[in-house]
Symmetry: C2
């Protein structure tokens, strides 16, 4: 598979918004395509909570990325034209510094000694990579999905002139109580797992139960009831596949959730999950607009924006996408608000490439490479 | 507070649909109003998963019931006119026989030796109470909310001529995969709690964590994102009320969920919860219609029906209420399908008494007391 990650050393110390600082922190990132001589063709992608920087296959890592169908030569995000950059969020565990990283001051993993993390910290770290690491003064486009969409809004709030265009995908200008409730319960499942042990787990005593419940709740809220009626209906597992434990799984939808959980539990650091989940709850763009989300959005200077959302998304409802579109428009941007009827809910941007690819491809195509 | 419960002894043995039988089982129920001489004015109410038979205050128990605003003299379900009866579901823990009851064969609680429970068993037990316990050949109205709505459909499928009218509230003619996924995760939270101990918990070692997660997930899916935006927004707890544990609660919505969980954890038997939850997943009216939900509904003989649902209900979507209405209509009933815009989601029938009371009151008023 190889490893295509490159690393950017953040200034040390890197001060965090809510206090504390990181020493010797790095961001992992991957790139596709060629940066133009004028550095004017860069697209930065900020991810949801769990993805790595490996958004697509490339020369150093041929394995498919999490947005493989979207990024590449001739694809909606066309790497023959654009220099594409994807960052593993600060605080995550896929190469960037996070709670599982070694704290140089102690020679041991940070765990809960990692400073409080906000999406503004993650955004500013990505901004420094772009400006200082790659010498790019202004992105051609800043694109954020889900939590990455919130991070992108933080990026633009902190650095209003840093992108010519913006693509906002299924995100929120502030965390709303339904999403907070879901994430709070995911965190509680991990925290109440005795193996979490206030963050001091290891491979032998690992919060498998908490991570499983958290991930399944994630998958349930990332998809939609409508999709599942068509996909799973009341299909039962073959008797060979049933869980014979009391009240064990017997429906196909239960085994689907279990498969998702099994792939995730050991692939993501539980403490990183907690930090990023709480950072999402804390996110409120109104803090950048004197208490008003709309004022904060109107201060962002992009020429054009594409705001995408899905009618079946229960975690980031269309009303929040519309709020983003209207706020950016109030700031002078030419905004395309495109509500989609994808049946897959919040995750549609990962699977409904037909709809999302068409919208993103058209938006990017319309921008001349100046 | 007193205790208004009366008890009906089921035939012993009481054979269960999926095998096994109960010996010496009872149903707890409460009543309001007077049964007419012709026994033609009886309304049976079947409840959701957790409520008791105490739907409203009465002479023997002055404490408010779970549908206090709906039932009483001059209220939408007017006890000056109707004889109202509410049953604690078979398999529950509020007086009716369930997993926490003593198995007379062993002299110890059933726990997981309780036979597999279906909503058909619960329905048939209630039918026997009505027919044999109270001598009522035909109900004036059978009303079911949520899980009780599924139980009511089972009742009518098993005994198609047993009610003159039917009120169906926020329920489902079969469990769909989104609801199955939610309930499966609630059961998993309890099952994976080490204190559940395959059903052998006690007051000292009790699955508090599992019950807390299960209840919170219930509350999240019983309400609606729209309601919570208005109700909680991003209100934070006072510093005195915050949970200082790592990643502890700091938003008002989190404390609301905790209060709901705290009231529930020790008030409901975890094994009863598991049995009733699984019975809901198993429910499929199509089993009574040769594989077709519509055929099963069309076999039900009621003169009139009122089908109520709420647009913000994510657990029992309006599409399922419409399916019930159309099926009953195909069976010859005069059906009022009333989709409501209550913001409170699935729980609206408990709190939006203005909308639900108006619809139910008008429907019941239109039926002459013959």
């Amino acid at each position: 598979m190889g490893d295509a990650r490159r690393y950017f050393a953040l200034p040390s110390p890197f001060a965090m918004k809510r206090g504390g600082a990181l020493a010797g922190a790095v961001l992992a990132y991957e790139t596709w395509g060629e940066l133009a001589a004028d550095r004017g063709n860069a697209i930065l992608i900020l991810t949801g909570l769990s993805p790595s920087a490996h958004a697509a296959s490339n020369a150093d890592d041929a394995s498919p990325g999490w947005w493989e169908a979207m990024i590449g030569p001739g694809k909606p995000i066309d790497t023959d034209r654009w220099f594409v950059l994807c960052v593993n969020t600060l605080g995550s565990c896929k190469g960037s510094t996070g709670p599982a990283s070694i704290d140089p001051a102690r020679g041991d993993a940070y765990r809960l000694d990692f400073p409080e993390l906000t999406l503004e910290d993650a955004a500013h770290a990505a901004y420094l990579l772009v400006r200082d690491g790659l010498g790019i003064d202004r992105l051609a486009c800043l694109l954020g999905n889900s939590m990455g969409g919130m991070t992108a809004l933080a990026y633009l709030a902190l650095h209003p002139d840093s992108a010519a265009t913006h693509i906002s995908v299924s995100t929120a200008p502030q965390a709303q109580p339904f999403a907070i409730a879901i994430r709070s319960l995911q965190r509680e499942a991990i925290r109440l797992d005795p193996n979490w042990n206030e963050g001091c787990y290891d491979g032998q005593a690992y919060p498998v139960t908490g991570m499983s419940i958290a991930r399944k709740l994630g998958v349930i809220t990332y998809r939609s009831a409508m999709e599942w009626v068509g996909r799973f209906a009341r299909i039962r597992l073959d008797s060979d596949d049933r869980d014979e434990a009391p009240f064990g799984a017997e429906f196909a939808v239960e085994s689907y959730l279990q498969a998702h959980a099994d792939r995730f539990i050991h692939a993501f650091d539980p403490n990183a999950y907690l930090y990023l989940s709480r950072a999402s709850d804390w996110f409120d763009l109104a803090e950048h607009g004197g208490g008003s989300v709309r004022a904060a959005l109107a201060r962002i200077h992009v020429e054009r924006a594409l705001v995408l959302g899905v009618s079946t998304d229960i975690l980031f409802p269309l009303s929040q996408q519309e709020e983003i579109a209207e706020g950016l428009r109030a700031g002078g941007a030419e905004v395309d608000f495109v509500p989609l009827d994808s049946p897959q809910g919040h995750d549609a941007f990962l699977v409904d490439i037909e709809r999302f690819g068409a919208a993103i491809g058209a938006f990017l195509h319309a921008r001349p490479r100046t």
